[in-house]
């Protein structure tokens, strides 16, 4: 009897311990991995001859307009590499389609598919139609992501992977696999952004994506927050000369590092620029269960503003601050998505975030008009945000690189083009420059293939995003657009 009781107590204790442990390790979308990869939409028959593609040059700005890709030549297409035949290029993507993360995965996938359809309607790339294969995987699940890319590479024989949601750690094993296999990973969009402290140069040789690096971005956040706080001081909404700020981050290395980098950037403005409280929130659910207390702690520390290292902590943090009637400026990393506007409501009015360098639908360029036309045709219920514009830029880069190689489409040369872009203007987002030595003068930044040096600041107001600055990079003078249209002005309406 005693033994049985002991066993039951042990089971109960283990069950509770396991459940507690799951707080940290919980992977909600861990559903059965679908080993069967599906082609999700039929390709469109080749109808047009290829045009002529520009090639990267030294120094001059390259303006790329989709549809101009394709190298003229007498050489006939042939099976130049895995996943490439005379008439077809196979590419794959890995997306979360279950649970809350589906709100990230589906728009990115739909955008990628829309772009593929558009390529095929134009006759493909150099006469090769493009087929996109989808593999779903939980966003936080390392093994699932690895299995997903393995299935795409080994079963579907894809030439490259495009536009994944690359959560830094969960995608690490997949990234290693792709590098071992020398399969390109090309994306405009990434969830959190890899950087050299996470992955070394050897690990990212076959990976390129286009956004702004954290340690550069924090200088823009700091400049913008300083500007906003000065405006609030002028209006008498916060005390003059008190540049005390708090930081809040999800308790994961890349977020914590971003918060720490922000603090360094903030302190460079002078001794009056202080970080009075640094809060970390353990997991997604803790951003609800503890956010009121976290915000109280930041408020009581004397902070007059908050920098949030992730969108989640801003969305829930601003709601908690609103409940506590604590209205101060908030600046957050990469919250440009429906998660912010749909979940936050009026509580987020006046919060600032950035566009990751991926443009703004209000920009009037031929490329942006193409984007809108194609999205209206193939993905009519889309919302312009980080997922759609980021995914679009990833596909633009792919088309540019693949088109430039003509019949000789091979993985190595493709990566050579994509990781050596210089003053590459998509007309959608910030100018891309992936050469190591050209990134804002940072000669040691060889570990990743990021490539944007600028982004725009956006403001959340009335459940919408408003562009409130021009392109800003490190050293830019922050200035609010007078015609932003937002009724929130410098802060809350």
């Amino acid at each position: 009897m005693t033994g049985s009781r002991g066993l039951h107590r042990l089971i109960a204790a283990l069950a509770i311990a396991a459940a507690l442990g799951s707080c940290a390790l919980f992977q909600p979308e861990r559903l059965a991995v679908r080993t069967q990869v599906s082609e999700t939409m039929p390709g469109v028959a080749v109808t047009q001859a290829p045009g002529v593609a520009p090639t990267p040059t030294s120094g001059a700005r390259v303006v790329f307009q989709p549809g101009s890709a394709g190298r003229a030549g007498s050489k006939a297409n042939y099976a130049s590499d895995d996943g490439v035949t005379a008439g077809e290029i196979r590419i794959g993507t890995v997306q979360p389609f279950d649970g809350p993360a589906a709100a990230l995965g589906r728009p990115l996938y739909n955008t990628t598919q829309a772009y593929v359809n558009w390529i095929n309607s134009r006759g493909g790339i150099n006469g090769r139609r493009v087929r996109l294969f989808l593999q779903t995987a939980c966003i936080n699940c390392e093994k699932e992501n690895r299995i997903a890319v393995k299935a795409l590479v080994e079963e579907k024989k894809v030439f490259a992977i495009v536009n994944t949601y690359m959560n830094t750690y969960a995608f690490g094993a997949a990234l290693k696999y792709l590098n071992d296999k020398k399969v390109p990973l090309i994306q405009g969009w990434s969830g959190v952004g890899a950087d050299r402290a996470v992955w070394g140069a050897g690990q990212t040789a076959w990976n390129v994506y286009y956004t702004m690096r954290n340690e550069v971005a924090v200088h823009v956040y700091a400049a913008w927050l300083d500007k906003v706080m000065r405006s609030w001081m002028s209006a008498g909404r916060i005390p003059q000369g008190d540049f005390s700020a708090g930081t809040v981050s999800l308790d994961v290395p890349q977020d914590n590092r971003r918060a720490a980098e922000f603090e360094k950037a903030w302190k460079r403005y002078g001794t009056d620029h202080r970080v009075t409280r640094k809060e970390r929130v353990a997991a997604e659910e803790e951003s609800v269960t503890r956010m009121d207390s976290v915000v109280s702690a930041i408020q009581r520390s004397g902070a007059q503003a908050v920098f949030s290292a992730s969108n989640i902590t801003m969305v829930f943090g601003m709601q908690a601050a609103s409940r506590q009637s604590w209205h101060v400026p908030w600046v957050a990393k990469s919250a440009w998505g429906r998660a912010a506007t749909d979940n936050c409501g009026a509580a987020c009015n006046g919060g600032y975030t950035d566009n990751n360098g991926w443009g703004w639908p209000g920009v009037n360029t031929p490329q942006m008009r193409q984007y809108k036309d194609v999205m209206a045709r193939y993905y009519p219920d889309s919302t312009d945000d980080a997922q759609t514009l980021g995914g679009w830029i990833g596909m633009m880069a792919f088309e540019y690189g693949a088109g430039g190689l003509g019949a000789d489409l091979k993985r190595g040369p493709l990566m050579d083009i994509l990781t050596n872009l210089q003053s590459f203007d998509t007309g959608i987002g910030a100018v891309i420059d992936t050469r190591d030595t050209a990134r804002l003068g940072e000669r040691d930044a060889a570990a990743d293939h990021l490539g944007m040096g600028q982004f725009m600041m956006l403001q959340i107001c009335d459940n919408r995003f408003w562009r409130v600055t021009d392109w800003m990079g490190r050293g830019s003078k922050p200035r609010m657009l007078s015609n932003s249209g937002s009724r929130c002005g410098w802060g809350y309406p």
Binding site: M1, S4, R5, H8, R9, I11, A12, A13, A15, I16, A17, A19, L20, S22, C23, F26, P28, L31, D98, G99, P100, A101, A102, A103, E279, R280, A282, A283, E284, E285, E286, S287, V288, T289, R290, M291, D292, S293, V294, S296, A297, R300, V315, F316, Q319, A320, R323, Q324, S325, A339, D342, N343, C344, G345
Partner: protein, 302 residues
């Protein structure tokens, strides 16, 4: 350490901790009730709360019921869901071991998450309306009306449940079933009916917790997972059998979790939480709240 503590902040955190603890307590009450009646450690409790909250969200979105009407309907749906889970799954597992029941409850949790994820795929991350807007300023802090409402609803539910168990025929039957199911059955207690009723009350409490706390964040299929774990901790204070202990445990956990943020120990709060739970289990604090006979009976029949 004491010098580094901000008393004003501690008071603010105390208020918020009481509100947060109320949610843990609400969930803990349901977990205790279900365990007492059927010997099931219900790891689907958070998912039941989530599912009912999606019902509330849908009612608010698609009908003119309003906050009160939608809340009442979703609590009723939560109760029906609880009874259904018992009748369809756990009634058939009375002879099964504790581990089998735990696994079955995890399966129910997964099923509910899957269904909700499919049905509300257009609202994978939804904003749910607050029952009451605004906040009230208190000396040294402030608290939203939603949080105040949560505290009072929890206290009312806790007192009503304790009274129900101590003073009603149902309560006597439930306690008899918990202490000796076979003997209770021989004396004419319809244990399945008692268990189904308890599951219904538990499901209703879970729905209430979800409707009260989810509007403070966002509604997703996993919104209640973290809350459920803490609800279990609250329930474990009384050995999963004591309602007053679950109430005390829930409020205490909420207060401790929040107040620690205002101390220099904030950075090790999660470690302390783990150590605290281990200590509770080792010291068997449930003996102070529940009859040894009841704890033993449930452990053996569970």
């Amino acid at each position: 350490v004491i010098a580094a503590v901000d008393a004003g902040l501690l008071f603010q955190l105390l208020l918020q901790g009481i509100s947060l603890g109320a949610v843990f307590a609400l969930l803990g009450l349901g977990i205790v009730l279900i365990y007492k009646s059927s010997g099931v450690m219900n790891f689907a409790h958070g998912s039941m709360a989530m599912f009912s909250t999606y019902i509330y969200f849908e009612l608010m979105r698609s009908t003119p019921l309003g906050v009160a009407g939608a809340a009442i309907v979703s609590v009723v749906v939560g109760a029906a869901l609880g009874a259904a889970v018992y009748l369809l799954v756990f009634r058939r597992m009375q002879g099964s071991g504790l581990l089998a029941k735990v696994i079955a409850s995890l399966a129910v949790a997964g099923l509910l998450q899957g269904i909700a994820g499919y049905v509300w795929r257009d609202a994978a991350q939804a904003k749910v309306a607050l029952a009451v807007e605004g906040s009230v300023r208190l000396p040294g802090g402030s608290l939203s009306w939603q949080e105040i409402l949560t505290i009072f609803v929890t206290l009312a539910a806790g007192v009503a449940l304790i009274a129900l168990l101590r003073r009603s025929t149902f309560g006597i039957r439930l306690r008899a079933t918990a202490q000796n199911r076979m003997a209770a059955r021989m004396l004419g207690v319809r244990d399945n009916r008692v268990a189904a009723t308890s599951w219904a009350i538990g499901g209703g409490l879970a729905a209430l917790a979800g409707v009260l706390v989810i509007p403070l964040g966002a509604l997703t299929t996993i919104s209640m997972s973290g809350f459920m774990v803490r609800g279990f901790v609250a329930a474990a204070v009384g050995g999963l059998v004591s309602l007053p202990a679950a109430l005390i445990g829930g409020f205490s956990l909420g207060v401790l979790q929040d107040v620690i943020i205002g101390t220099p120990l904030a950075s090790v709060s999660r470690l302390l939480a783990g150590v605290g739970i281990a200590v509770l289990l080792l010291l068997r604090v449930e003996r102070f709240f529940a009859l040894e006979q009841e704890i033993r009976a449930l452990e053996e029949t569970g």
